[in-house]
């Protein structure tokens, strides 16, 4: 039985069962002359049956999908003859990957017959078990629903049961957010630990040299110090600083102008335009930085006699700054607006000019909120990928010169993982180590920033 056959049977049974149960409930009600009828509306009995058909089937299906590959791997490994195992150095996972790479439609000439047999066996396992499985879970579902059909009586409150099942489903949906966070932390930590088994933690965190080209053969060890992440951190820092030095002045000044000086009409017109900057995909910014800004700056420098990299930090950082402007301007605008008018009035009534009021009363009052906005923007800059992948360099370079080419954490993660790598090599695992560093830094920044903004809002609301 293929997947689609299963699905059609599943769907039609579901409809049928629900209709049948509802009908049964209706007939039950009609058959009672005196005495209590069903406590809930008939449709709830139908829904109840439906739920207890669908939920067991779907959950078992999900679990099976996750565990099936492991089960099949295990069964195939049991079947590997010992001499074959030894010829592969005693490593079953290598044999498995070779087997999986065999295309039974188009067998590469010269492949060992034993491997072909194992591949055929694996294939068989995959497809035959599916059939059995589908039949099994459909029967499970039918058994489940037959119990529910029996329950239709005047003592069974279907609506409450249905609602409680529904609420549990809702709770489950809500916890997906937590599951995701756990998933992220777990998967990152797991792989990062495997990395730190090979490369010492402090070498990574404080090492000054980053060149992750490891040897091809497994038994060669990477030269120590080649995974020192400091140049990458400094590259990220440099580009972030450049980005902030573009976005903070422009964003803050725009926010001040919009909230204090612009007329309502002008504000209604300009605010959405700034929002557009936030909606442009980062790949577009990356393209702009690489194709237009980089060469432009290089040409400009050349005409003055300097020579700068075409993938300079200032090109990538500058364009990233443009992307971040709306973060700062939008949040600052909200923050400035929430400063109570009574403070403005108090200052103006003293004979202060508008700019004095802004500089000496409003901005100091709004400062915590603005700092929170800046922290969130910094977190965004650190985690930004596409702009730097397209416009910044790949070679790690420990420098403070904005005209040099540097690389960032996100660029390295992409470079290390895009392409065909053996998944276990330190090279690819390094990406996870970088990933978890990135996650924690942005997490701390975000939590801290949100706390500041929340505290600030409480002061004025």
């Amino acid at each position: 039985m293929g997947f689609w056959a299963f699905f059609i049977i599943f769907a039609s049974s579901a409809f049928f069962l629900q209709w049948y149960a509802t009908n049964k409930a209706l007939r039950f009600n009609a058959s009672i002359e005196e005495g209590p009828k069903l406590p809930s509306l008939p449709q709830y009995y139908g829904l109840f049956t439906l739920l207890w058909f669908i939920i067991p089937i779907l959950s078992t299906f999900l679990i099976w999908t996750i565990f099936k590959p492991f089960l099949i791997d295990y069964l195939v490994i049991q079947k590997i003859p010992v001499n074959l195992l030894n010829s592969f150095g005693g490593n079953p996972s290598l044999i498995l990957s070779t087997i999986k790479a065999i295309n039974l439609q188009n067998i590469f000439p010269g492949t060992k017959q034993e491997l072909i047999d194992l591949a055929k066996y694996m294939n068989e396992l995959k497809y035959s078990t599916s059939s059995l499985f589908y039949i099994a879970i459909l029967s499970l579902g039918l058994i489940g629903s037959s119990f529910t059909l029996k329950k239709i009586s005047s003592r069974f409150r279907a609506r409450q049961s249905v609602e409680s099942v529904n609420i549990k489903l809702l709770i489950f949906c809500s916890t997906i957010a937590i599951l995701t966070t756990i998933g992220i932390v777990f998967s990152l930590i797991f792989e990062a630990i495997r990395f730190f088994e090979q490369i010492p933690f402090f070498d990574f965190l404080f090492g000054l040299s980053w060149s992750p080209q490891t040897a091809i053969r497994e038994d060669q060890v990477a030269s120590s110090g080649a995974f020192g992440a400091i140049p990458i951190f400094s590259g990220t820092l440099l580009i972030t600083v450049i980005a902030m030095s573009v976005s903070i002045p422009v964003g803050l000044l725009s926010a001040i102008y919009l909230s204090e000086y612009a007329t309502n009409n002008l504000r209604a017109f300009l605010k959405p335009i700034l929002e557009i900057l936030a909606g442009v995909p980062t790949v577009v910014y990356g393209f702009f930085a690489a194709i237009t800004v980089g060469p432009f700056l290089k040409g400009l420098a050349d005409s003055f006699g300097f020579s700068i990299a075409s993938e300079s930090a200032i090109a990538a950082g500058g364009v990233m700054g443009i992307m971040i402007i709306p973060f700062i301007s939008s949040l600052s605008d909200d923050v400035i607006n929430s400063v109570p008018n009574s403070l403005r009035d108090g200052s103006l009534a003293m004979g202060a000019t508008k700019s004095e009021t802004i500089k000496k009363v409003i901005l100091p009052a709004a400062l915590p909120g603005i700092v929170g906005a800046i922290l969130l923007a910094v977190s965004r800059a650190i985690g930004e990928t596409m702009i730097v992948v397209m416009a910044a360099g790949i070679a790690a370079n420990l420098t403070a010169n904005p005209f040099d080419s540097v690389t960032t954490v996100t660029v390295q993660i992409v470079t290390l993982l895009v392409g065909d790598q053996e998944f276990d090599s330190p090279k690819t695992l390094a990406a996870f180590a970088l990933g978890i560093t990135l996650f924690f830094v942005t997490l701390v920044l975000n939590l801290y920033a949100l706390k500041i903004v929340k505290k600030y809002r409480e002061k004025y609301d």
Partner: protein, 425 residues
């Protein structure tokens, strides 16, 4: 009193000047931001609009039967496998009888795109009577010629920067002077998938990939997010656990997108062995990213519904669950839809997490299902930008224009829905 007055008067001029300057700085800030936007859009449009036309060269093609069907079998398979390249080369060389050197002949033959062969095969298949006939045809030029044609200033560059050498430049200019070269709409851009040749590359494959991926994202994220949002806002008790969920959601909304890619790589690909580079995986990753956006939008829309509606429903004996599903949720649908569309448009523009799950492969066919290898629009743009061939630059810009148009469309729909359907309580 007057002493004060004088002092105040004195400082006034300076203060007013500083006021004017401050206001000016604010204005400059806004002008900078708006001009950045304009510069970005203009530079993209200038480069991108070139991609919507292609260069065609007029040649007199002789369908020599000695090349197409020497044994006169009239079999389709023989005709289809004939060396049409030779026919094309001969047609070009006819215009330049002085060219005898083999290397130069090859250079000339590269003026025409390799896809022209398929065009000729199609023509013959439709009308076999063309064999041994001569016909004047406009054939698609190769990317190099296309680039020169669109950027004529390159003819003045020194030879090593120019893409074509001096001889080729002379031949090109001959075609120009004979008016045997023209622009026509680029038929490949919207109908073809990716290709190694810029003149044949199109965004259709990426378009289908984006569509399938967003489809998966939508059906996964929308129900779960609305359910979670409704639960958290209306039905959940206020305790530490639900607070923790909220913190998680707010935090996930700010996690860098590449981390979601790593999650997808580690779990969906390596643990669950889902097909690499398929829309289903991409959709799942993007769904996780979009969940917080839709949850937050759902909660905001639910909050905007006045309590009187809920009170009325409960007063009639509805359970809390029924109140939410029958009354409150339908009323907040406009706001939820707007939030969803905005979330989808953000997902459409995402590329970093999809790079992690392998959507960087070179895909020549458009995907047939959500389990086939695919790529999406923003990743296609990234791939084209990374390619060395000069002809891809305008394609990348054109791809950007298509992507931006979709985003504008989606956001306009969202704004329209908000405007038309949102009730002012």
């Amino acid at each position: 009193m007057t002493k004060n007055f004088e002092k105040i008067n004195d400082s006034l001029i300076k203060r007013q000047r500083s006021e004017k300057n401050f206001k000016l700085f604010g204005l400059i800030g806004i002008i900078c931001a708006v001009s950045f936007l304009i510069i970005i859009l203009t530079s993209i449009i200038i480069e991108g609009k070139k991609a919507f036309v292609s260069t065609y060269i007029k040649l007199e093609v002789f369908f020599d039967s000695k090349i197409i069907d020497p044994d006169n079998t009239k079999e389709d398979s023989v005709i289809k496998s004939a060396n049409f390249n030779q026919i094309i080369t001969k047609s070009i060389l006819e215009n330049f009888p002085e060219v005898t050197d083999r290397k130069e002949k090859i250079k000339l033959s590269t003026f025409i795109s390799s896809s022209a062969e398929d065009e000729l095969i199609k023509l013959i298949m439709l009308d076999k009577a063309l064999i041994d006939q001569k016909k004047e045809l406009w054939l698609l030029a190769s990317s190099t010629i296309d680039v020169i044609h669109k950027n004529p200033e390159m003819l003045n560059f020194p030879e090593d920067e120019r893409l074509i050498d001096d001889k080729e430049s002379k031949w090109f200019q001959w075609f120009l002077s004979e008016e045997k070269i023209k622009f026509s709409t680029n038929k490949n851009f919207f109908s073809n998938a990716d290709s190694t040749e810029p003149e044949q590359a199109g965004i259709w494959g990426a378009f289908v990939g984006s569509f399938l991926t967003l489809f998966v994202t939508l059906i996964l994220s929308f129900p779960i997010a609305v359910a979670a949002g409704a639960f958290l806002e209306e039905l959940a008790p206020k305790n530490k656990f639900t607070d923790f969920i909220e913190v998680n959601i707010n935090n996930l909304a700010a996690v860098p997108s590449i981390i979601f890619g790593l999650l997808g790589l580690a779990i969906f690909l390596n643990v669950m062995h889902l097909p690499r580079s398929a829309p289903i995986v991409g959709g799942m990753v993007l769904a996780l990213m979009t969940l917080p956006t839709i949850i937050i939008a759902t909660r905001a829309s639910l909050r905007a519904v006045p309590p009187s509606i809920r009170e009325a429903a409960i007063g009639l004996g509805a359970t809390k669950f029924q109140t939410v599903t029958h009354h409150v949720l339908p009323l907040s649908m406009p706001g939820i839809s707007t939030g969803t569309i905005i979330g989808m448009s953000q997902a459409l523009g995402e590329s970093a997490p999809l790079l992690m799950i392998g959507m960087v492969a070179f895909i020549v066919d458009s995907p047939g299902s959500i389990f086939d290898s695919a790529t999406v629009l923003p990743v296609q743009i990234y791939l084209w930008k990374s390619t060395a061939a000069r002809g891809f630059v305008e394609l990348t810009a054109a791809g950007v224009m298509v992507l931006l148009s979709f985003l504008v469309l989606m956001n306009t729909i969202a704004v329209y829905i908000r405007y038309k359907f949102e009730k002012k309580w």
